[in-house]
């Protein structure tokens, strides 16, 4: 049984710092031959913002037909969901916020309709990884993004304790993260540790 990793590259800037950080983690994960991964570039994923219509509370599905039709299913099927976002104006990039808000259908399923998001045998076995970079050096620069990230993972049945974080501040110009003293090694360790934990949980 392969382990399925679904990764979202949230930055509108291709191959910038947050995507480099993501690529390091994914490269480390893919050293294990049981890993099957898919990397989704959000700017190419055709995910519209949530319309706030609340129809999903009754329909158990979103009324919008777009890229989320595919990613809705992939989010359920994945064993690990990796989300990367740069910090823009103290928050998630708008493209990432759109994805996070579209998880409303899972929130409706879980809390309004009281239906399972993943089958019971997969509950508590999934992991989330949040990766972020920020140009500012402030140590609180990620604080406003985290509550949204936690909500996103909660509604897709990934518990607080099952979210890993790697957030690197003070990297602004494209590629600046390459010169960071620890980011690459931390990313490699995170990838390895996450795969190890997934295998343990999945009994592989």
């Amino acid at each position: 049984m392969p382990i399925k990793i679904l990764a979202f590259a949230g930055s509108p800037r291709r191959h910038g710092n947050s995507e480099i950080l993501l690529d390091w983690v994914l490269a480390s994960m893919s050293e294990d031959r049981d890993i099957r991964m898919e990397k989704v570039v959000l700017t190419e994923a055709d995910i519209n913002p949530c319309r706030g219509c609340n129809a999903c509370e009754a329909l158990n599905k979103c009324i919008q037909r777009d890229g989320m039709d595919i990613y809705h299913d992939k989010i359920i099927e994945a064993d690990c969901i990796v989300l990367s976002s740069p910090i823009y104006c103290m928050g998630l990039a708008a493209q990432v916020k759109a994805l996070v808000d579209r998880a409303q259908v899972f929130r409706s399923r879980k809390y309004v309709l009281k239906l399972p998001v993943v089958p019971p045998e997969r509950k508590g076995k999934r992991l989330g990884v949040f990766l972020s970079t920020a140009g500012q050096k402030w140590n609180y620069v990620f604080d406003a993004a985290i509550p949204s990230v936690k909500c996103f993972y909660h509604v897709i049945d990934i518990r607080d304790a099952d979210i890993r974080y790697l957030m690197i501040n003070g990297v602004d110009e494209k590629g600046a993260i390459e010169h960071h003293p620890t980011a690459q090694a931390d990313a490699a360790n995170l990838g390895k540790e996450t795969v190890h934990e997934l295998k343990k949980r999945l009994g592989l």
């Binding site: 509108p12 949530c50 104006c89 998630l92 708008a94 493209q95 916020k97 808000d101 993004a145 509550p147």
Partner: protein
């Protein structure tokens, strides 16, 4: 002295709780004699920031769409009231998409140093955040405040106050909230009175 109050509605849901609260604030400002204007983001055409950083060299955004037109309006206003419901512990993607586009103004201030707001300017330009949330948690707005602070800081507005109401799901909507709409109206009146005083120097 004309006081210009601009209201930006960041909700995708027309005439819902947040826009109704914004309307009440603008009604209060109008009752105090201000010129009011409301812009609904979902009726505009704009794309989110591309993160290309071209503005760091030129001070201009490479994308010329309604976001630029709205930033021009913001810079010509005395009061900026910006409204968003809380979705997933933050502002909506529409409003975040608009706020991220301010990067060219940020670049003018901090990289190119071609734009500067004096303390006096900032004092005479007030920002108000208007929001509603379905959840009753006290911390439900916490993820939104730093982003709104970034908007007001970049565009030269003093973050004057919030008009916020949580627990909408329990109240069954803003119209059933005991105080929110009146508080918003009063805040609109208050802010115009203060701005007028500052403008006339009395």
């Amino acid at each position: 002295m004309e006081i210009k109050v601009l209201g930006i509605s960041g909700s995708p849901h027309r005439h819902g709780n947040t826009e109704t609260l914004l309307d009440s604030f603008l009604d209060g400002a109008h009752a105090s004699g201000a010129t009011i204007e409301k812009v609904v983001l979902k009726t505009l055409q704009y794309s989110p920031c591309r993160g290309c950083n071209a503005c760091h060299k030129t001070g201009e955004c490479v994308v010329n769409d309604d976001a630029i037109f709205l930033y021009e309006k913001i810079l010509a206003s005395d009061c900026l009231s910006v409204a968003s419901p809380i979705y997933t512990m933050g502002i909506t993607a529409e409003l975040k998409g608009f706020i991220d586009r301010q990067q060219y103004i940020w670049a003018r201030k901090f990289i190119l140093k071609t734009l500067y707001f004096s303390d006096d300017h900032i004092k005479r330009h007030k920002g108000i955040f208007i929001s509603t949330a379905g959840l009753g948690w006290e911390n439900v707005f916490d993820g939104a405040f730093p982003v709104i602070t970034a908007l007001f800081n970049t565009t030269g507005f003093e973050y004057y106050d919030n008009v916020i109401a949580n627990d909408m799901d329990r109240f069954g909507g803003i119209r059933n909230h005991p105080t929110a709409l009146k508080d918003a109206f009063d805040k609109g009146m208050e802010i115009v009175a203060i701005l007028e005083k500052l403008k006339t120097g009395s």
